[in-house]
């Protein structure tokens, strides 16, 4: 506030605060102690204020356009939200049609009812198609992304569709005459399609496309039938891949996920027996526009299945494959069971083998309906094996939760498979410089409070590419991503730059800073590391790791820190006071010290806090120097290990403390003088637990 007032007067005032109420008055035993502590803190602050330089502020207007990668429900919703707010949107989809996995669904589950999937399959995609603010780029791939202060420059490769979209009228003559027949991946292999095809009858955009991997024109260089037969001359074999470049202010990644391939687990027998299918295949079978025209039949012989067994958690909640829970599959299975019972084969016997039924929220009502009204049988247990007996009928062998083994005969076995990350997500993550989590989904900034942002400002994730979720959660997350992206692009990039400054004379280009930067903000050039000022968060890890002190954070140099420490100790010596230097990170550490004040918790008045951006900036040398200069102890106060606001700061600091304590032990010194508190801001108790063990002979009072 003061800073603002000063700049209004045209004075560039730099302010260093000393919080003597919370840090001194409220936490010390006596007036004298408090006063002394305040003196010490002010000494350090003066030292800091002396060297505060002017901060550079970068101000750039971002580009008011957004790139959305992935045309599933998430990508569509995000695009529509952004477009309706007036932003230009580029929607890039790798397949020829938008709609994503959801376009394969027959019905979606909803509270109390089973809805038709129209919105995700057709009306929303159509809205996208018709929206003038959205540029739809289907059958495209992202090849390169470059960062600029105003946003991103994205290179997109448009794969050739070999069809002139302006001329194709979707008549289908070409497909009729095409001689090449292949399995239709859109129907999950349940039907065949031609090499020139339309993925699903209701897709957007409603145009045919040629699959060059199977088209005889390309594979054998022989066939031209479709070109000859097309009355509109819409087929153009000469199309080549094109590269386009777009400039956007933000990127939303919504690439979605895939169904787990159950053939990798032999016990389920998928791939071995024809009548074992996945839930998504079941959706296709029930879809009136699907391969069987909406008749639910066995794949092998076309008969009505009367005994249906659904197996849950295939490829999820399984430490061998995917330990996470896929969330949607319980409700999905129950929804399909209800549909079969009410609309397809009411006489069917349906058994669901489950670990836990996770119909959370109001989906519970579907579970009750299936179990109590429709008589769907639920068995808690694990599948041992699915096999065929001599007569050729399928049997599911299982162990229930009491340890009893049982078998159920089945006409049709449906596997509720996990959602798994898409194959190409790793490549995309590399292009975008974002991270994948341990399962291969895109990693969010924080799983609890910001599961949309990523480590790169301006790149957001939503939908199932972030983790499994159902459609409504996906849509909510997509709208939320749209909010964040919109706010991001309308805002100016206004950043106080606290990037490291390099002293070329001392830089040996050893690259340690580059590999240790948690934000990948540094790259090694011939002159030494160069900083991407946008990515840099000013945590100071590079300054700490640089052995030769060649790189330093503006206003938080190593030298300054040492001077501050020395100033405190000098002042303490003058006051004949003992002193423990407490280095507190600006986040949890400083807040924790504040909290101690708010609670009026008394602690040793010898503890003098110095605020630093992150514990990562501390190096072992600082600790040694402080002790060497006469401090009675060094205390590091920072975030919990896994929850450092700068990724690695707390962890490395903890390890530094451990290392130096080990060295001290070896040398017979005083490991107990170096301590670290890793606690969130409210855990004042943890602070007190640690500090009460610091051996400081009581100061002269």
């Amino acid at each position: 506030m003061l800073e603002k007032a000063a700049s209004g007067l045209g004075v560039n005032l730099k302010v260093e605060y000393v919080n003597i109420r919370e840090h001194c008055a409220w936490v010390c035993g006596s007036l004298k102690e408090a006063t002394d502590k305040a003196k010490l803190m002010i000494a350090a602050a003066i030292e800091k204020a002396k060297s505060l330089g002017k901060e550079k502020v970068l101000k750039v207007k971002r580009k008011e356009a957004v790139l959305v990668i992935g045309g599933g429900p998430a990508g569509i919703q995000a695009s529509l939200d952004l477009a309706s707010q007036g932003f230009k949107v580029y929607l890039v989809e790798s397949s020829p049609a938008i709609g994503g996995l959801a376009s394969l669904l027959h019905r979606t589950f909803s509270i109390n009812e089973c809805n038709c999937a129209i919105c995700v399959k057709s009306s929303k995609p159509l809205e996208v198609y018709e929206n003038p603010n959205i540029e739809l780029l289907t059958y495209c791939e992202i090849s390169d992304v470059k960062r600029y202060p105003w946003g991103f420059k994205v290179k997109i490769i448009k794969k050739p569709k070999y069809i002139n979209y302006d001329r194709c009228t979707n008549c289908g003559l070409c497909s009729e005459k095409c001689p090449q027949l292949v399995l239709n991946e859109w129907d999950r292999g349940l039907s065949k399609r031609k090499a020139i095809y339309i993925p699903l009858p209701y897709v957007t955009p409603p145009r045919y496309i040629i699959d060059p991997n199977h088209c005889l024109h390309f594979t054998e260089n022989s066939c031209n039938i479709c070109e000859e037969v097309c009355p509109y001359n819409a087929i153009d074999f000469s199309q080549k891949a094109k590269e386009v470049e777009v400039e956007v202010g933000a990127i939303i990644v919504a690439t979605g996920s895939e169904e787990f391939n159950p053939s990798t687990i032999p016990k389920y027998g998928y791939g071995k027996y024809k009548d074992i299918i996945t839930q998504l295949q079941l959706e296709r079978l029930m879809d009136p526009l699907g391969p069987t025209g909406g008749r639910l039949v066995r794949v092998s012989d076309g008969k009505k299945p009367l005994k249906i067994v659904m197996i849950q958690c295939v490829g999820s909640r399984d430490p061998d494959t995917n330990p996470y829970c896929s969330k949607y599959c319980c409700t999905e299975a129950i929804k399909n069971a209800i549909l079969i019972k009410t609309e397809y084969i009411p006489e069917a016997e349906i058994t669901i083998l489950y670990k836990d039924i996770r119909t959370y929220g109001r989906f519970e009502e579907l579970y009750i309906q299936a179990r109590d009204e429709l008589g769907v049988k639920f068995i808690k247990g694990d599948v041992v094996e699915v096999y065929e007996d001599k007569s050729g009928s399928l049997l599911v062998k299982y162990v229930d939760s009491l340890g009893k083994t049982g078998t159920i005969p089945a006409d049709l076995v449906v596997l509720s498979c996990a959602l798994v990350p898409r194959e190409n997500s790793k490549k995309l993550a590399e292009i975008l410089n974002i991270e994948l989590d341990e399962y291969g989904f895109f990693k969010e900034l924080d799983e609890k409070v910001s599961n949309i942002e990523t480590k790169v400002p301006g790149i957001f994730i939503c939908g199932t590419c972030q983790g499994p979720k159902n459609i409504s959660e996906t849509l909510v997350q997509a709208s939320a991503a749209a909010t964040l992206a919109a706010l991001y692009v309308i805002s100016y990039l206004e950043k106080k730059l606290t990037p490291p400054i390099l002293d070329e004379e001392f830089c040996a280009k050893c690259g340690l800073c580059v590999i240790s930067c948690p934000y990948n903000a540094l790259t090694l050039t011939e002159k030494g590391p160069s900083v991407d000022e946008l990515l840099c968060q000013g945590c100071g890890t590079c300054a700490s790791v640089c052995p030769n002190n060649a790189i330093n954070i503006v206003n938080n140099t190593n030298e300054l820190l040492l001077r501050q420490i020395k100033a405190i100790i000098d002042e303490a010596k003058a006051l004949r006071k003992r002193v423990v230097i407490a280095l507190c990170c600006e986040e949890c550490g400083h807040t924790l010290m504040d909290a101690l004040g708010f609670y009026h918790e008394k602690y040793m008045s010898e503890i003098i806090p110095i605020t630093i951006p992150c514990l990562g900036i501390i190096s072992i040398t600082h600790i040694l120097e402080a002790l060497n200069y006469g401090a009675d102890g060094v205390l590091l106060v920072g975030c919990p290990l896994e929850r450092c606001h700068f990724e690695l700061g707390a962890k490395t600091a903890k390890y530094k403390v451990e290392l130096i304590r080990r060295v001290f032990e070896e040398l017979g010194l005083f490991p107990e003088k170096v301590n670290i508190v890793n606690a969130p801001a409210t855990m004042t108790k943890r602070f007190l637990e640690v500090t009460c063990k610091i051996p400081v002979k009581t100061s002269s009072r």
Partner: protein
Amino acid sequence: MKKFKPLILAFLCENSAYRAIDVASMRKVSYLESIRVIKVPCSGRISSTHILQAFSNGADGVIIFGCLKGGCNYVDGNLRAQLRVKKLKKTLDIIGLGGERLKMHLVGFCEAGKILECMNNFYMKIREIGPNPLKSKGGV
């Protein structure tokens, strides 16, 4: 006697049934030529008057398609229409037209097959029932 060819009026909700028919037509299937189709924003828009008007103008049957339960764009328009149809059927019974000349189905967007099947069945049924008695009485 010349084979009776019923004249049927179908009201299609533009959010589900109308679009479903459109999509299905890509597969080269469509409804019978003697069914006349009117699209409405919501099945809830169709009032009893319209239905009665159709009969008085010579329709042999009226069939209405609305969205699935819970899928209505307008919360419960489809259910209101269903209720209306139920009441009107009784009225038709009373006035002698016969409630079976009026039918309502709730269908999903993907269920074009079902829609066409319903239309066909209805057509066959009306053919069994015979022509709209109002016509012969010259009520039209």
